[in-house]
Symmetry: C2
Subunit: 131 residues, 2 copies
């Protein structure tokens, strides 16, 4: 077990790197550092839609994700209190993940962004080809 300040999507600038350039003035940047990681948007959306999922189920609904990345991403979200982890002490153990109220509140602006993407990204791709 080592520290979580290296490659974890969790907080890394929080403890002041050397001269917090725009960290305190730009929480948006830090937020995007998190939701911008490859799997967060997909996971948040999935949890928002399904309510609660087990690790394996969540993995199955996130095509292409590796166990490592899924765990790492969930840890980061947990760390930010956007996702809740519930363990059923059975054998074998069953671990359930769901959005916290804060997580749900994030899903709102995120949903707006999704809608923008679905509306305009095809348009953008079209423009890229036709000039």
């Amino acid at each position: 077990m080592e520290d979580r300040t290296s490659s974890t999507p969790g907080h890394s600038q929080v403890t002041a790197p050397r001269g917090d350039l725009f960290s305190p003035e730009c929480p948006t940047r830090r937020l995007l550092d998190r939701i911008g990681t490859k799997w967060v948007a997909m996971i948040v959306k999935t949890l928002a839609e399904t309510g609660e999922l087990r690790y394996a189920d969540l993995k199955r609904r996130t095509p292409g994700v590796s166990a490592k990345m899924l765990t790492q991403t969930l840890r980061g979200l947990e760390d930010d209190h956007l996702v809740a982890r519930r363990v059923e002490p059975s054998v074998p153990p069953a671990v359930h993940y769901s959005l916290t109220p804060l997580g749900h509140s994030l899903d709102e602006p995120l949903a707006a962004l999704r809608e923008w993407a679905e509306t305009h990204m095809p348009e953008i791709d079209g423009l890229s080809r036709t000039g």
Copy 2:
């Protein structure tokens, strides 16, 4: 001069990598790949607020950005028709950047995200420390 499929924030999955896993089904992912890059959110916000800026001005208003990243980011945004580039043929040349209507439309959901970040990120940071 080489292709723009390597490190450019522009389209890289558009030309089908090998088996577009969720590219077509997830424009959100591609959008986040762009706005999630370190400087996009800041640049878009700045342009949204100021209207139009010259390269050097934009650089000055984006603390910490290198010329390389600024150019690269602007190229990507230009490529997506989110930013317009206007050149005044003077000596030395003056290049102006501004948001396109599409860019402004993106700024709306982005602003919502910013507001969420400014509202909740401090709360999150507080929770991280106090448990």
